[in-house]
Point group: C2
Chain length 393, copies 2
DNA sequence: GCCATTTAATTCGAGGCTCGAAAAAAATAG
DNA sequence: CTATTTTTTTCGAGCCTCGAATTAAATGGC
């Protein structure tokens, strides 16, 4: 509760959580002893009322630090946040993933986190956890990048190197999962217990929350939405197969279709944002191939979503990434495909929101994941009540 | 633990569950007081050893009864089982679902259960729960049949009528979910925390277990595997849309393709088993259309499974229902489609088992569901320890 | 300025579930 | 018949929670 709301009184916590006042008192006094939380005089709303004033409780910013990192094709970004989630150090530096050897990934990451840690203000807490978001497939245990479009190397271990370097628990997670967690934390009304975050970028990814939990694979991070089959024996996908959703909706697929390059032509993996902007301009000027490229992307995404809706009923969708800039051209065909395929779902009824910039969402997801795990650990490790012993003394 | 194993000693329970001997003693003595379980002298293996002999504990068959029902196109089947899961009454009678009005469904069901209850042996327990398995879509709360291929009526309420008639909790569930639960209970090694049961019959259904829990929809029973899109703008499905898996793998789709009726021709919904057998015979005799019909069914199923594997990693699959009789013709194309679509999954590596008769599995699933829910209820409602009061006396 | 009133937080004793240690129960071995 | 062995039960204690009573800390009114 304190992670969600700062400056709430014990009374308030008791009312919201349903725990008795005595229980809240016991737990908070323990957390205060351990300096996990801090207290402040004065009522929540600042108004002075009759009666004993409330004591406002908040998380102690210096109780711990967490480091979040986002590894992308051309950059590596690290933020260090205090225990309340406030960013207190930040580094974003270039990194040419395509040209890096497998050992450079953990090395550069460790270096960047180390550099960020040297810029901390005095009095900051201790680093307690590291969370890394990457494109591609990770294992469920969060130890390694099993496959990623940003490098040709497979199975790059991350967790162990980070834990050795900083002596705190570390995890690697799929970027789309982190986006979903960030949205769920940011706006739990809209992105409640069932929704999907779909990343529209060079490739297509998905983070899917069902019943309040992220759907992950049995062994891998999975939810490889981009590689669902859209059209058997269809367009060539960068994964080598044919007819995947990504082979219609990824940047390279849209580029290929817009330039009339043929659905069997090799996917380009170096398409600049400017090139995608040009296609958008062309579409705005009525270029039939560009419009068709976006329409086919929309249809592929819509078919894929309709399939998901057939599996677990319709849910709200967040579209994330620079691909959303063409949403005006994609939305119609996408909604049509949903409606075409599932008549129980009126295509126009699905809530769709767009978030053009994925990086801050990935970062936020990493931070909140690390903090919530830290909270769990603190809850577990917190010393049991010592009432009997102190009484005995 | 006693639901899984009869005749186990407290010692054994303590070792298996990790609970202390004292806790097991406390809990079992309470359950004995309430006659939920019964005890028997003599060691588990019958051998007499030195030392105090073990007391074997088992569920008390007469602690309760549950009724399970399977509603099908042409029959209605009911079994009544005692608290250990043993069938003690059984009725299976014809029912023409297609010609029945919406009110006849709960009425016939109540009648059949009532009749079954009159045949109980003396000394049997009280009915405590009713579980019904139906084809089609139910709501997550298990109150109604939202849609079913066996009737043209929608949203037929079941739970309320049953609860009014018998004054015990009742639920309606999707048949494929019940099959999955039955397999999970029957063979937890093979059908562990992640697997799917695919019903191959007139239509195509799926019960999917992920992380030890059935995947259901947000509002409905969902997992409408048969209506995933296999081929956009493809063959006409009985649901009115085009290109669903079912439009290639359902009985009517196989019949249509084998008889060269054209993929747009109206689905027949009265195909007899004999007609399907004829197609199998023709395929055995080398008839190209019949072979192609099964091959296309296999490809559609394989593509759908590959999509599921992309979402949650590969898992074992149980194929259930009379469609499995043609497994010899289906397997090759099915495995090829899995391999084609997901190179990380060697098609031949997926564990596939066949169960030609679905009815006993649905029934078993209903029974075990009802019994496990009953166990939960007993665990919750069981009177708290009264040690202090008895001490005070 | 003091005391009644109000509101928040804490303390105290008890209940429920769990456990380990000790005791009791029920058999065999000699 | 007694020592030994094995299983089960009993007893006391620890933890977490709660409700009731108490304490703390403010304001309002005379």
């Amino acid at each position: 509760m304190l992670r969600r709301h700062a400056n709430v009184s014990r009374k308030h916590i008791s009312q919201e959580t349903g725990l008795s006042a005595s229980t809240v008192s016991a737990i908070t006094s323990e957390l205060l002893d351990e300096a996990v939380i801090v207290s402040l005089q004065g009522t929540e709303d600042g108004a002075l009322r009759r009666g004993r004033p409330q004591v406002r409780l908040s998380l102690n910013p210096n109780a711990a630090l967490v480091a979040s990192a986002v590894q992308q094709l051309d950059r590596i970004a690290v933020t260090v946040c205090d225990y309340t989630g406030k960013t207190i150090a930040e580094i974003d530096r270039p990194f040419r993933a395509r040209e890096a050897g497998p050992e450079e990934f953990p090395r550069m990451l460790i270096e960047t986190i180390s550099d960020a840690l040297t810029t901390l203000p005095p009095g900051a807490g201790q680093l307690e956890r590291i969370e890394l978001g990457v494109q591609g497939i990770t294992d469920v245990e969060g130890t390694a990048m099993l496959w990623s479009p940003i490098t040709r190397y497979r199975n790059i271990g991350m967790k162990e190197a980070l834990e050795d370097a900083f002596a705190v628990p570390a995890r690697v997670s799929n970027d789309c999962c982190m986006i979903a967690l960030a949205l769920h934390w940011r706006d739990p009304e809209r992105f409640a217990d069932n929704f999907a975050a779909v990343l529209l970028s060079h490739g297509i990814g998905m983070g899917l929350m069902l019943n309040g939990e992220l759907l992950t694979g049995i062994r891998s991070s999975a939810t490889e939405f981009g590689h669902l089959s859209h059209m058997p024996h269809g367009a060539l996908c960068r994964c080598g197969r044919s007819g995947c959703i990504e082979a219609y909706a990824g940047d390279y697929a849209i580029y290929r279709r817009a330039t009339n390059a043929g659905s069997e032509s090799a996917p380009r993996n170096d398409i600049a944002q400017a090139e995608m902007s040009e296609i958008m301009e062309a579409a705005k000027n009525g270029d039939a191939d560009s419009i068709a490229a976006f329409a086919e992307a929309g249809e592929a995404l819509g078919t894929g979503l309709a399939n998901m809706f057939a599996l677990v009923d319709p849910f709200p969708v967040a579209l994330v990434g620079h691909g959303t800039r063409a949403y005006g051209f994609i939305e119609g065909p996408l909604r049509r495909a949903i409606g075409d395929i599932n008549p129980y779902v009126s295509g126009s009824g699905i809530e769709i929101s767009c978030f053009p910039d994925e990086k801050p969402l990935i970062m936020e997801g990493c931070t909140i994941t690390a903090l919530l795990e830290l909270d769990e650990e603190i809850a577990r490790s917190t010393a049991p009540h010592q009432k009997v012993f102190t009484d005995a003394v």
